[in-house]
């Protein structure tokens, strides 16, 4: 019965995704976007359950020897017009090493003018008053008026960039989320294991749920060039779908800092860049560092890979060429403790991030 309920829940989930995607033709209605905070804020241990970023829709592909990921994070309520406390809620869909994960998070983003927050309105209303465009004066030719109007609109565009830069200061978003991870087989006929070992006769596909994951994340953008993130994770996870497996408790912590170091378009020319003018996107290279830890408790027999504690420090370089072309190079340095032994390892991997729809 539980499996049928799960099946219908997943079907409904996919239905909601289809409904949501059918509305993405009109992506102009996305609010302010800044490129400094990305969906990659938890690059290794929690990348499958992360809801990070400010975007309407972001896809994320990550390749490495033993940690490949395909991921989409979507904020469906950004497509609706009415201000709502759910405006910044997000849906996560990811697949990592054969494990499918689905999640939903309640969120808040203080750069969104259409949620219940007042910050955008306050920043906007604090702007100094603008003079109105005045009618053609006596003796002013049609051409002179057009020139005056063009200059007026250019000045207004500059004022708008100033407004967005102000909005980019002290950006805060948070998400409280839940993800469920499922084994590859989520139903069907129970299949007993045939072996000479102790597992002989146990049902190999007894469980469909790999883990329940609860997370809290706070992103803080100091300005358009520097951001930090802090988060916590609690998960209950089983090693395999085999009968008799129990859920072990895991407590995780993650933090990261990101800063822009190289501007691919000179700062004084940014004003002429269409992406910057529309959404404050800066073609640039950012560097950052993330720390993720995961501590297992309970019966060590059910720990994933017998690991009781993991700590991963990941230096990374983000290449942000355009809103639709971004990728990351990173070198995770892993330190982990198996029940009795410590290990340190490293392995570079590449993340390619496709920001599908984040227009301003």
């Amino acid at each position: 019965m539980k499996k049928y309920i799960l099946f219908y829940a997943i079907s409904l989930y996919f239905l909601s995704i289809r409904i949501a995607f059918s509305q993405t033709a009109d992506t102009n209605r996305v609010n302010f976007f800044s490129s400094v905070i990305s969906t990659n804020i938890k690059p290794q241990l929690f990348n499958d359950i992360s809801f990070g970023g400010f975007d309407l829709l972001a896809a994320n592909l990550q390749f490495s020897k033993d940690n490949s990921l395909q991921k989409v994070v979507f904020s469906p309520f950004k497509l609706f017009n009415d201000p709502s406390i759910f405006k910044d809620s997000r849906i996560n869909f990811s697949q990592k090493n054969g494990i499918s994960t689905f999640g939903i998070a309640y969120g808040f983003d203080n750069t969104n003018p259409y949620n219940k927050g007042k910050r955008v309105a306050n920043v906007f209303m604090r702007l100094p008053p603008f003079p109105a465009l005045t009618p053609r004066g006596a003796g002013e030719s049609e051409d002179d008026f057009k020139k005056r109007q063009k200059k007026y609109l250019d000045d207004l565009a500059l004022a708008r960039i100033g407004f967005m830069q102000e909005l980019a200061k002290n950006m805060i978003s948070f998400t409280i989320g839940y993800n469920i991870s499922l084994f590859e087989l989520i139903g069907g006929t129970p299949v007993p294991i045939v072996s000479t070992g102790a597992d002989n006769g146990l049902i190999s596909n007894q469980f469909s749920t790999k883990s329940h994951n609860y997370s809290l994340d706070v992103n803080y953008g100091v300005n358009e060039n520097f951001a930090i993130n802090v988060g916590g994770v609690y998960k209950r996870q089983r090693l395999s779908a085999v009968e008799g497996q129990e859920l072990a408790d895991y407590y995780g912590f993650n933090t990261s800092i990101t800063g822009r170091v190289i501007w691919l378009t000179p700062k004084d020319k940014l004003i002429n860049n269409a992406d910057y003018r529309s959404s404050l996107f800066i073609p640039s290279i950012l560097i950052g560092l993330s720390l993720e830890t995961l501590n297992a408790t309970g019966n060590p027999k059910f720990y994933e890979d017998s690991i009781s504690y993991q700590q991963i420090i990941t230096p990374f370089i983000d290449f942000k060429i355009s809103p639709k072309s971004q990728f990351r190079l990173s070198v995770p340095i892993k330190k982990y403790t198996k029940v009795d032994t410590d290990f340190v390892s490293t392995g570079p991997f590449l993340q390619y991030t496709i920001e599908l729809a984040n227009r301003n």
């Binding site: 603008f130 006596a138 609109l153 207004l156 407004f163």
Partner: protein, 139 residues
């Protein structure tokens, strides 16, 4: 500057003052109105009104209006039948605005004389400027 006084013709020094006040209240009062998705930051920087053969006047009195409330209405004056009006407006969406409509509306009797777009709503991207003109003859 546009004279948007409702009781322009009511002279307090004359005996028919109250009669003229009532006459003004019964006249066709016109407003320029904007409605948009509440929360969207918008600057209304241009509102020119040309009445018959007069020069264009600035109905914003020199200062653009910035607002996020989703609602601006500006009194244009009291007009009589046969008056020809040309109303040109310009606005800029500082962030994307999902839905917006501009209207010339009338009180006494209450009417939407004209709206832009003619049906539905306009969608503005962040930074997009929208300029358009209403041409109306008072019936």
């Amino acid at each position: 500057m546009l004279n948007t006084s409702l009781f322009k013709k009511a002279n307090i020094e004359k005996e028919n003052f109250e009669e003229k006040v009532l006459e003004a209240l019964n006249g066709q009062q016109l407003f320029f109105a904007l409605k948009w998705t509440k929360g969207g930051p918008l600057v209304l920087f241009q509102l020119f009104v040309k009445i018959n053969d007069e020069d264009e006047k600035d109905a914003l009195n020199g200062t653009a209006i910035k607002d996020t409330d989703g609602d601006i209405s500006i009194f244009l004056g009291v007009f009589k039948k046969g008056d020809k009006l040309k109303i040109t407006f310009g606005l800029n969406a500082f962030l994307a605005i999902p839905q917006i409509v501009s209207m010339i509306v009338q009180a006494n009797p209450s009417l939407i004389l004209e709206r832009k777009p003619d049906a539905g709503f306009k969608n503005l991207s962040g930074g997009e400027t929208w300029q358009d003109t209403f041409s109306i003859t008072i019936q």
